[in-house]
């Protein structure tokens, strides 16, 4: 499988691009439109935009903003943040979003299966927040939660790999520009094929993210 480069951009509720450390303090990185244009020119394969405030603020995906963002983007775009229903994904799709990332909604198996059926399992991505040392924390409760079973469609086997934002490298500098994620540690309890991500703390277009970079041991 060809390696793909997929920058993951975090947006807050003011539509500012930010970088967080350990899901904590945020550093302003720039305007999403500026950064998308730069990644256009860098010819990355896809872009993933995550609204990290949407769920916490009970908000919905901002369609107008996302439509504009998607139209600036010269490659497929995935979006996550505040998605709770298939209807939203239809609207997002019409606005130009190709893939949908589910956080706490990933626990809603019916939704995951519905999306996989309508848009294809390639378009359905579960995002699980986790920390170093391998224990899995669900984004909606502080206790350890189980990862939802991979959704399957009638015509396929495994779904598209989940994205797992792991804790940042402790020495990642907040001042570096873009958030590109690369595999850090194998998260053992996750079923394959899962793609772990972690902040690089810099723009590394040569880094790639593939299921092949990650090994699952039972």
């Amino acid at each position: 499988m060809r390696k793909r480069i997929i920058p993951v951009l975090l947006v807050d509720h003011h539509r500012r691009l930010v970088k967080t450390i350990g899901f904590g303090p945020r550093t302003y990185v720039g305007d999403p439109f500026n950064v998308i244009r730069l990644f256009n020119e860098k010819e990355v394969d896809e872009i993933c935009v995550l609204d990290i405030d949407a769920s916490a603020q009970g908000g919905r995906p901002d369609l107008g903003f996302l439509r504009e963002l998607a139209s600036e983007c010269f490659m497929p775009m995935a979006y996550g943040g505040g998605i709770t229903a298939a209807q939203q994904c239809e609207e997002l799709n019409r606005a130009g979003i190709e893939k949908f990332v589910l956080g706490r909604s990933a626990a809603n198996t019916a939704l995951v299966q519905d999306l996989a059926r309508t848009f294809g399992s390639q378009a359905t991505v579960a995002c699980v927040d986790s920390r170093m040392r391998g224990w899995v924390k669900s984004s909606c409760s502080p206790s350890t939660a189980t990862v939802p079973e991979p959704a399957t469609t009638s015509s396929s086997s495994a779904p598209w790999p989940p994205i797992c934002p792991c804790r940042r490298w402790p020495w990642a500098e907040p001042e570096k520009r873009y958030t590109l994620r690369r595999p850090c540690v194998p998260v053992r309890r996750l079923p394959p094929p899962a793609v772990p991500l972690s902040s690089l703390g810099g723009c590394e277009p040569c880094w790639s993210i593939t299921p092949a970079c990650f090994r699952w041991t039972p």
Binding site: R4, A70, S71, F74, M75, P76, E98, Q122
Partner: protein, 204 residues
């Protein structure tokens, strides 16, 4: 000036932005007269065949398109569903297509037990057939972003300007006289898509 047909279906904004980036003058239009008198057209589209044809009909855009494409013979590029609309008909629906290309649209079938999935979504390298102008100058392999469940089958293989391998060699680009079509999304295929749009933009 390229006129992108805006009928509420398809990635008009993204196409315009890419053309803008390339320095090619373009505008979106839903006005019949403007479309009929355009010097070049792009017909985008995503979603269902019937819905798109019905929408074109409702908005009275079929006659203007016919005027431009069949009478005035201006270049027209159908993108994704837009390419499928150029055909005579589609397995997906009941409506007649525009019929600019002698072809029909059928659902992608994959060999049983194959790992290939439908819809076909993702980056895929295309194989130019050596016919037509859109892929004439390309030396290095090009890949594009696809997102579709149906594909075009041409009656005359001379109309096929590029194919892709998905269980079999399937058509992904057509060209006949002034009618062009691409199954993939050039507006989502960064420099490869730009190359195609640029070539189309430079056509005389």
């Amino acid at each position: 000036m390229i006129t992108v047909v805006d009928y509420g279906v398809g990635n008009v904004g993204a196409i315009l932005n890419m053309l803008d980036y390339l320095g090619i003058d373009a505008e979106a239009s839903s006005d019949g007269q403007q479309i009929a008198s355009a010097s070049k057209l792009i017909l985008p589209g995503v979603g269902a065949f019937d819905k798109a044809m019905l929408t074109l009909r409702e908005r009275r855009l079929i006659d203007p398109l016919n005027t431009a494409v069949l009478e005035r013979r201006v270049p027209v590029l159908g993108v994704c569903l837009g390419m499928q609309l150029l055909a005579r008909c589609s397995e997906e629906g009941q409506e007649q297509g525009l019929g600019y290309v002698d072809a029909e649209v059928v659902r992608i079938t994959v060999p049983p037990g194959s790992a290939l999935k439908v819809p076909h979504i993702g980056w895929m390298e295309v194989n130019p057939t050596g016919r037509g102008r859109l892929f004439a100058a390309t030396q290095a392999p090009e890949r594009f972003y696809f997102d579709h469940s149906y594909h075009v089958v041409c009656t005359d293989q001379e109309d096929v300007s590029a194919t892709f391998s998905y269980g079999a060699e399937l058509c992904c680009a057509v060209e006949r006289a002034n009618v062009f079509g691409v199954q993939f999304h050039p507006e989502k295929s960064h420099r490869f898509g730009m190359r195609v749009l640029n070539t189309f933009g430079q056509l005389t």
